[in-house]
Symmetry: D2
Subunit: 359 residues, 4 copies
């Protein structure tokens, strides 16, 4: 299980001062097999990590550096990129060329088609020139509970973000089995504000978003197409769905409430719970709750778990799936480490927190 | 407009120490035409109001009394009842007999059929004996923007609560016009914790519900039947819908995200916005937002307003309605005063707060 | 009471899009005697107010303009300046020259000595050239409960901010009477995050400051010198004190806990409560609570009130004063209107909210 | 270091369903050397732990039992008691008689004098009969950084709560060295609401305490005498101090801001920082921050750490100490395990979380 060559465990974290980066450093610090080898950043380059992050000191007091591929490749076997959309595509090809395997937390390699990416991420596309079609087509979309074999051998894993993770995990077993009307899917999602990142924006101020809930990007959220792409690929037929995100007054946590029509309205909640359990029984990262018990995001905070519950309205054959995750762990950095574990030959949940504190 | 006989303005508040009661006292204190004449309560009976509510002192320092119908009728023309479900039914008939007109904030008179109430509120039905079928059938369900004429002359108004108010206001115009598939309605609702009342319960502790979101009463929430009853009556045909409430980490505010299929998929967002504007243009209590602008609950906090927005997904003809209210004002006590205004012959928004502070 | 010439009631608000400005517009909108005549701003100039502030629409849909003194003077009798420190000093002399009376919410005119201002606000002093010594020396520091006569005739009122207001109101009566050891004063203050303004900063993000408390600017907060200046002037002898602010996870509200030694340790809590009542009995803006009852900031939220309580430890003769305000109303914009009321010849609390909603 | 006899590691948790108990179970679940052997509770007795705590499942699905000393002694070497004040004294003597070593999280054994306890905890004293003077006099007050040798051999450790822990840790080195005026100490403390426990009370509802700060038990908080007792014992002379707790709108975290006069006003912040470092340099549970860097409670959330900073006002020789802990870990259950580690012969920080997640 454990590779004898420890050298395979040197990990660069790029974008280290953002929320994604901080989680990555935190998780790697406690991980039994990986070591941080490089901390990269733009805004904070030149600073000592321990000075600007007194709550998360590292034994070696790194200086944060501008992310130079050559420098990274000298000291790292893996790179975890937690960068703004578009920026990652400027770095990833250079890293792959130098045999650094990459887990990318941005949206840059989540589409198999660069053309589609350019359409959805049009403003980034104008800012960053890209012609890495081939890399796009070979990148692996990393949901570790669904395609671990591809991930194990991947050079580049595109790590899904919080909304797709929370929404797809409960939905995919039903799509795979062909159990739901594919034009009936509605995802009503609710996220804490840390999902908006650490870069200061007015709408993320406590004064603005405390004591408030509002939807945003109705119809237009870019994760819609990402969720549709994966749902389509698992269902084997084209899927269009409704996705409405809401911003909640809390730091962490994401809840997806997913509605769909069962093709066979005779299926019960217990039947549907069995479907979920059958798919996920071997994964410590997924909890299927008893029918009638619904997850709170607090139950999975600071863990790499999804907690899922299912209910069926027998009056109308409508399926209701509830899924809770920590948006920065299972919805981002924990999942990145989960992918990294597989790439390095470990169990996928090695070193990841699976137990919350409460309350 | 203003009745010459000021006597018609004496108002008893029963259940004064709960959140509903406190709002009622607050709103009446600033109202130009009504005077508090009696403060009733069980748990706090015998206490001076000003001693136990130092943040909301009244000029006359009332002693809170057990609600005796005879006493109330001696000093009051109207009674606002903010009592637990079931308890109101023990008091209301006695008040009506003594010519006190009643606005009831509980669920006791929200169904035209007592039999239906007994089914839905079965535990209350076991605890409180009721045979006031006639009163049930004559009570008016008070949505002041929809049936002001009935309310004006009503002896008893059943005041809708927060979830039905926020959900029905955007939905009713489309049901009235026959514009949506009646079996396609999904209401995903999100509420602050003050909706759970002031009686201490573990799940409403800050330690439990801060930094957390969870659904509750999935499929089983009792407001489902109430919403269906009114929707059915306006649509003129039976409606079954999905209603999923969620508990949010905030004090006040309620957002309903409502999904439905348009019967004519050619309707645009602008068309649907016009539908809403046509229905509500004369009501200061309803704001229809421009297409593409979505309400935050913070925009209507501490006001008697609903802020509503509509969007249509032209890919699939799905209508998305967003509606934000303050659950304790427009979703409860403010709406009660709105009804009271009509019963007493005033403009329905007289003396009600229509402008939030921000942030 | 009411001036016959309504022209004296035209008010310009400069810095309208910040939290201070929004409160000013909100309060003026509901005020019976003042009208908004001009909305000024830098960042938002050129926008329609109603477009960017859909939660606070004005009947006349103003376009926000760069603040030109000539333009302001054409349409305004008063100007309320809610600008960053330093910027106000570039505008105020020009307005005064044009006979526009000014209430300034910044720190620019809070010191009688420009030299002291330049020392304390050294970075602003480098950025903005000032030689308006005379204006500084003639400006009135506006605590309306303490110097209403000066305020009434002032051309320029420097409106104190949240920390000085909450800390001085309970302390001044004891300083005035010479009841406390002047070297024993410790102010431990706690503020919501809206005090940090609307301009996005990392440390004010919900993700950063929710579920957290921390002190800041220990020893170094610039309000220390401002509090000392006023305390010294009322006490009639030099006062140095300790002031430690803390940032709390809430939007609004400020609590000051003030400790000092009584010169006569025989004074009781009741004696000290009488001292406070004697000073403030005629002011609706100040509530002195019964001994043993302590204010929550929630009791004064969205009001122009301070709620104050006093306690004495008879073991050691130490006085403890607790004072709660809404930092954006009584601690900022409400107090500005209170000053404006006096300048225009009205009762100081005219049109100001004095009653919170709860919870 | 590690006892060969694993039997010495069986731990009963009594009061398991409260916040203290939940933390204990959580920490023991991840501890390398201890095993939960018994879960005791009153209110939840008869329930399966895993049913009522779905977010913290144990591999052996315990049934919660009424705490019978005989049953506990059969399966346990240690008992951790997280019970209401008074109740612990009814169980502890029986457990000690049966050779079960006890860590008590209540106040029952925090005073060496039972008479003093009866005075301070007078209502509990009326409810629970006690004559265990001897046990009181022999119990060890467990601050593991200060008296580890006594703790190692103790039969009964009284574990200090959150306010004394956060306040004493920064203060004791200065008292021990005789560096401060002993009549000058003021502790202004701020706590999250989980410190009030899981038993539902109105003032702990989110609707009440969100968006609010207020002091409570001014002069009268029972921890005053407890802090004074320990401070007196370390200083070697009687100490009376001021202690004012405040309730904050957050789940977890406690910040103490401590003010005192230095006897030698020539001491600098750096000198005082050296004093702290000298005392705590060998303890991973204490972080002394660089001068000018102040802790946020968020930096130590979910950890068994105290983060401490010191500052001196050279104008007046006043010392300001800032101390942040997680009230339920270092302020309660983590500290209990820290004591348990010592009693069982391990390093005191074994198995305890020392690294927060952020944000």
């Amino acid at each position: 299980m454990h590779p004898s060559n420890n050298k395979a465990n040197r990990v660069a974290v790029v974008g280290a001062s953002g929320y994604g980066g901080i989680q990555l450093v935190r998780l790697l610090k406690n991980h039994p097999e990986f070591n941080v080898s490089f901390l990269g950043g733009q805004r904070t380059a030149g600073n000592h990590w321990n000075d600007i992050t007194p709550f998360l000191k590292l034994e070696s007091d790194y200086i944060i550096q501008r992310p130079d591929p050559e420098e990274i490749s000298k000291c790292s076997d893996f790179a975890l990129l937690s960068l703004p959309n578009g920026l990652s595509s400027q770095l990833t090809p250079e890293l792959l060329n130098r045999n650094v395997r990459v887990v990318d937390l941005s949206a840059d390699y989540r589409y198999r088609s660069l053309r589609l990416w350019k359409k959805i991420y049009s403003s980034e596309s104008e800012k960053f020139s890209r012609n890495d079609d081939l890399i796009c087509s070979e990148a692996v979309y990393g949901i570790p509970e669904w395609n671990q074999n591809e991930i194990k051998s991947a050079k580049l894993v595109a790590c899904p973000g919080c909304f797709p993770t929370a929404s797809l995990l409960p939905l995919l077993p039903f799509l795979k089995q062909g159990l739901i009307d594919t034009d009936s899917i509605i995802i009503d999602a609710k996220s804490g504000t840390s999902g908006g990142g650490r870069d200061p924006k007015e709408h993320l101020l406590l004064a603005e978003c405390s004591e408030s809930i509002a939807p945003y990007s109705v119809l237009e959220h870019r994760h819609t197409s990402e969720i549709e792409q994966i749902a389509t690929s698992i269902a084997g037929k084209p899927i269009e769905l409704q996705f409405t995100p809401h911003l909640l007054p809390m730091v962490r946590g994401l809840l997806s409430t997913v509605y769909a029509r069962l093709r066979d309205p005779g299926l019960t909640s217990d039947d549907c719970s069995v479907v979920l359990e059958a798919f996920y029984r071997n994964y410590k990262t997924i909890d299927i709750l008893p029918v009638g018990c619904y997850p709170s995001t607090k139950w999975v905070r600071y863990t790499n778990k999804a907690s899922i519950s299912v209910q069926v309205d027998t009056r109308n054959g409508r399926l209701i799936l509830i899924s809770a995750i920590d948006n920065l762990i299972k919805g981002q950095s924990g999942q990145a480490i989960q992918n990294l574990n597989l790439m390095a030959g470990y169990e996928q949940d090695l070193g990841l927190p699976l137990q919350t504190f409460y309350p």
